[in-house]
């Protein structure tokens, strides 16, 4: 979806403002939201929180702080999946239990869960459609759902610089349409191909793209 989250190449967002001695969380609630998001065994595909954040209306998205978006997306997913009702969210009072039998992450499981992670790489014999050094063109597509192909790269010519192997295709998986594993590549786009002749001839942007994002050029 051509949402406001896909902001690569926009120019009117003001200067970058680094904060000195920035705390990890700026308020206690940010840490709680972060932790709830990671602790919950959600009845949804991994990565759905991100897609849900992309569905926040643009004006709200820009107004919200980062963890407000997390809070909003987590709340929406909980309601959509039937794990929590809107009334519960609004009152702060639980009306039912863990009806879906989801796993509750215990404190003694936290360290191991963080250390294990959850890889998107798939050890499957999926053939790569492209090879390192090959010229490719990012497809000119405008899908309505979640996509990892940023607008600024669409229709542009690039070169495959690295094959990351077969990976879950997030565009599909996050929308509940299956993992659709395929090769993921690092694709180099010359800055001038993306932004025109005013860009430095030396510079480039590397974007990670899947087979379905690319066509031979």
């Amino acid at each position: 979806m051509n949402g406001v989250h896909d902001m690569g190449g926009m120019q009117d967002m003001g200067p970058v403002r680094p904060e000195k001695n920035e705390p990890v969380f700026h308020a206690a609630w940010e840490g709680r939201v972060f932790a709830m998001y990671w602790a919950i065994d959600g009845d949804w595909p991994g990565g759905s929180g991100r897609y849900q954040r992309e569905l926040i209306p643009p004006a709200e998205y820009l107004r919200m702080s980062y963890y407000e978006r997390w809070l909003t997306s987590l709340s929406e997913l909980l309601v959509k999946s039937g794990m929590v009702t809107r009334t519960e969210l609004e009152t702060g009072v639980a009306q039912g239990g863990n009806t879906k039998g989801r796993h509750m992450l215990r404190v003694d499981e936290v360290a191991a869960t963080i250390a294990a992670g959850e890889t998107s790489a798939r050890d499957l014999p999926v053939a790569a459609r492209f090879h390192e050094g090959q010229r490719v063109r990012a497809r000119n597509v405008n899908p309505m759902g979640h996509t990892r192909l940023p607008r600024y790269a669409r229709g542009k010519l690039g070169v495959i610089t690295r094959d990351h192997g077969a990976q879950v295709f997030n565009d599909s998986f996050v929308q509940g349409l299956g993992e659709k594993p395929q090769h993921l590549y690092s694709v180099r786009f010359a800055a001038r191909e993306l932004w025109g002749q005013e860009a430095a001839a030396t510079d480039s942007v590397y974007v990670d793209l899947w087979d379905d994002h690319l066509e031979a050029a």
């Binding site: 989250h5 896909d6 902001m7 690569g8 190449g9 926009m10 120019q11 967002m13 003001g14 200067p15 970058v16 403002r17 904060e19 920035e22 990890v24 969380f25 308020a27 840490g31 709680r32 939201v33 972060f34 709830m36 990671w38 602790a39 954040r53 709200e60 980062y66 407000e68 709340s75 909980l78 969210l89 609004e90 009152t91 702060g92 009072v93 639980a94 863990n98 509750m104 992450l105 215990r106 404190v107 936290v110 360290a111 963080i114 250390a115 992670g117 998107s120 990892r148 600024y152 990351h164 993921l184 430095a200 030396t202 510079d203 480039s204 942007v205 590397y206 990670d208 793209l209 899947w210």
Partner: protein, 236 residues
């Protein structure tokens, strides 16, 4: 209607079993505004507390596990991890080769890995190449080595401009690159996380690995700054 909902919440939070809040705390954290468009309620602190109470009461999250997660990312997993990786690469050629070839495995040698670093790639800065990492679509960042990203990394300003005007963004961080330095911007659009191996500053030949690690900054590992050697005579 808003007032009614807040009163309900306040009452609920003060009576819910195990809820570690009081009416006073809830009131104190409420900004003084009264919107009537409440499709998206405007007080995240209050909403977060309500959500936590509900999830705990329903047996979906354990408060102690939440405490542990917050503690982990506030105190245990952060840029000091990455600094150790960089310092090792500076002093150990073979390690550096392994790091550039298979970052995940080399980083695991130092005991780091896991969530949001299931796949990692390290890109090397040289006198002629400068790497910069961004996530234009979201906030992807190598957690095991850098911890959680700072606000500026997740800001619209950084996400939008890093790809179209990386030199301008670097200038705002105080780094002016010569025209003949090649800039490579890495947009973390997939699940691969990028870490910059900064150049080892001149004048640090005599420093040991621990002293070198102390020089390595988070910003240099994202690629928005370079690392400077300590002044002569200064403690590293």
């Amino acid at each position: 209607m808003t007032t009614t909902r807040r009163d309900l919440l306040t009452a609920a939070l003060t009576t819910a079993a195990g809820a570690a809040v009081t009416a006073g705390q809830v009131r104190a954290e409420e900004p003084d505004h009264d919107h009537d468009h409440q499709a998206v309620p405007s007080d995240p602190a209050l909403r977060a507390k309500a959500l936590e109470s509900v999830l705990v009461a329903k047996g979906l999250v354990d408060r102690a596990a939440l405490d542990a997660l917050v503690d982990t990312y506030e105190h245990r997993i952060g840029p000091r991890n990455g600094a150790r990786v960089i310092a090792r690469a500076w002093v150990d050629r073979a390690y550096k080769q392994r790091l550039l070839k298979n970052a995940k495995a080399a980083i695991a040698e130092l005991g780091y890995g896991g969530v949001e670093g299931e796949q990692m790639v390290v890109v090397e800065n040289t006198a002629r190449i400068h790497n910069l990492v961004v996530c234009t679509l979201c906030s992807c960042y190598p957690w095991p080595v850098l911890g959680l990203p700072p606000v500026w990394y997740k800001s619209a300003a950084y996400r939008s401009r890093s790809v179209i005007d990386p030199r301008g963004v670097l200038r705002e961080f105080g780094l002016e690159l010569a025209a003949d330095v090649e800039v490579r911007v890495w947009d973390s659009t997939a699940e691969v996380r990028y870490l910059v191996l900064p150049e080892r500053p001149a004048g640090t030949e005599k420093l040991g690995e621990t002293e070198l690690a102390a020089l390595v900054t988070r910003d240099a590992m994202v690629g928005v700054s370079r690392i400077v050697a300590p002044r002569k005579g200064a403690q590293a």
